[in-house]
């Protein structure tokens, strides 16, 4: 009995390895979202400190929009930020932000420091909406169509290639499709 006991660590490892393996099969940059082609969950987030308006479903209605989840604590978000600024300046699509798991004021400070690409920002300090959206890590970005349905999910940094190669064509396609 006690000899079998010694194999316990191995058993534990095998279980872990199995999960690692399963986790690997899913390319994290292409995690299919449960939400694809479904409506965004209902939400009504309060504004972050120093801002007057929060973010709710109503704000996104009637237009193709880009919803970006960020946090001031997240270095990749800082890396992604200039790209978001560029997208916002280009005016191709309105950019909305969800400030995820930030202490009060941190998101505001961050936006003041780096510039604010967002038309509106909602505060999600305990990650409620993030859980509903199935966020695995920041930054994460959703393309939402005119009817409020999620059409695409991008995990990780929006690089220039991602924007030019995937997001921008999709946004333009959605705008054309629905405009017609």
């Amino acid at each position: 009995m006690s000899r079998l006991f010694l194999f316990l660590p191995l058993v534990f490892f095998v279980v872990m390895a199995l999960y690692f393996g399963l986790g690997l099969r899913e390319d994290p940059s292409e995690i299919p979202s449960q939400l694809i082609d479904r409506e965004l969950p209902e939400f009504d987030l309060p504004p972050i400190e120093g801002f007057e308006t929060g973010l709710s479903n109503a704000d996104l209605a009637g237009q193709v929009s880009l919803l970006n989840v960020f946090g001031s604590w997240c270095p990749p978000c800082a890396i992604e930020h200039p790209m978001l600024m560029q997208i916002s300046r280009s005016g191709v699509v309105p950019v909305y932000g969800v400030d995820w798991k930030d202490p009060p004021g941190a998101g505001t400070a961050w936006l003041e420091r780096n510039g604010n690409p967002y038309r509106r920002v909602g505060d999600d300090p305990d990650g409620r909406l993030a859980i509903d959206l199935g966020i695995t890590g920041a930054p994460e970005t959703f393309i939402v169509d005119r009817d409020g349905r999620v059409r695409y999910r991008h995990v990780g940094i929006i690089t220039e290639e991602v924007w030019d190669g995937t997001l921008r064509p999709l946004v333009e396609h959605l705008q054309a499709e629905e405009g017609a």
Binding site: A17, S72, P75, P82, A109, G115, G134
Partner: protein, 668 residues
Amino acid sequence: MIAELGQFALILAFVVALTQSVMTVIGLRTGDAAVHGFARAGAIAQFLLVLTAFGCLTALFAMSDFSALVVAENSHTDKPFIYKLTGVWGNHEGSMLLWGLILTAYTAALAWTVKPVEARLISLTFSVQSLITAAFVAFLLFTSNPFARLWPAPANGQDLNPLLQDPGLASHPPMLYAGYVGFSITFSFAVAALIEGRVDARWARIVRPWALAAWSFLTVGIALGAAWAYYELGWGGWWAWDPVENASLMPWLAGTAFIHSLRVMEKRDTLKAWTILLALVTFSLSLAGTFLVRSGVLTSVHAFAVDPARGVFILAILIGVTGGSLALYGMRASLLRPTGVFSEVSRESTLLINNLFIGAACALVFFGTFYPLFVTTVSDETITVGAPFYNATFNPMMGLLLILVPISGMLAWKRGKLKPVLRKLMPALVAALAAGVIALWIADRTRIAGALGTGLAVWIGLGVLIDLAQRVKLFDIELKASFARAVRLPLGIWGMAVAHFGLAITVFAITGVSAWKQETSGFLMPGQSLDIGGYTVQLDDVRRLEGANYIAEEGQFAISRGQRELGDLVAERRFYPVRQMSTTESAIRTRATGDLYVTIGEPSPERGWPVHLYIYPFAMWLWVGSGVLTLGGVLSIADRGRRSLKARKTAPAKASRDKVGTDTGATA
């Protein structure tokens, strides 16, 4: 040409490592004594080859040779020279090459320093070590070749991520890797011991300096990472329970348990199977840490690149190393019989409790890190585990453990008495309670955690001092005699005392920084000011200036307290045009009682510059505390116990030599 030379050196290193590993095992089987010399020479050869490869990559970066893919993706001609060099490991391929370099450096260090004792065990260790090297070099060659060429070569590179252009980056990964990889030596020793089916106090004595060295490096590495986050990210956060931070904390916790149980094994020849298991687990967690960062299994802030092929390869290495060693453990650990017995109240038992607590804390971090992955795999839900989870579970667990620290150090081995120890520690207990009450009284009264942390720090710190005073019989005998006793105390005891004192400082600093921090912010035009914690911070002027590869906006602040002028601070916001990124260079006024932390943001034309002020009480002691902690580890390394290795050699060594038959020159 240089790139090809580097690649060739790597291929050779792979061949040498594989050959050495296999030949050593064959040699040991046939009883050929030449095998020991071969194992040592092979270890040094591997190191020189990987060093050559690393030198080649460094040369490519130094010369800004953009025909090399890694250089083109991560460097730029305008980058300051020092960051061209540190950029060598600021990317996936280069950092993995660094990993390999440190791995072979450890093996070579073992070859250089090894004493002619336990030759079989050590040759087996070399064999295991070489196998790990072979696997890692293969990983480099097949999935992350640092010497891949780019054709046509671009005129200039894409520059290194500015967040990484920092002295912190220059030193953080090498230290961290030196910690992770250092545990490969103790791992290989453990596997060798399992193969031999025999482990004893001598094994512990040989392994101890390696374990302590790795632990010390890991401590420094983690502290540097925290410092980098604190100074570079611009919001003073030093620990965020990010998966990758956890990945470095887990081996540290397991390694801490390991060095404690190693001591029990060395002194009392017991807890054998447990110690071996910890050696295996510690390195496995180090590997898992690498796996986490490189494979993208968990999306993390540190991931350089997400590449499933790499993940599969690392998983294969992990299965080979961890799975293989744990299987071996299951088959052979029952051979490792303890000889020492101990009662429920003894230093052994408290160290065992220490181990169980640290083990449980490590399991909590493991759970918190991997549970989200687990949930995603079995269902389509996604959850996150953050600071509240750790505050509610990890912190109390560690708190309970820390209460034991001074008691454990003062209990006798084998059979101890709790009462006299507690009586001696009475002053520490009283002081701790008083400190807690004072903390509640003068600081924020609602922060119970602040009082608890302060009390705990005082308890450990004073406990350590009382322990030392007991050992040198301070005030019981003449001061001179006490001093003489202090000088004669083994370095291991000093190491323990210093490390535990460093722990007390660190606990206090963590308490200060997290329980009593203050922050405020506002828009300022030059001439306007903000108040925080008694300080007045006035924005004097904002200037533009140009750095080597960035443009900066520099805010000059005048600090005062009441009527007293306390000098100027300069905070910067830098913009790196090549990567289109800004970073903040916060201005920090460091005093023993706390840091005043100032950042400046992107201006708005009508409202002025957004300025953020933070006060982090006792932040400086985080770095002092981890420094003292490390010093404790280093002191203990110096206590090689060499005298006792020689003194006690005769009896057990003869027995083992007779059994092994190849342990030449052990009695010299």
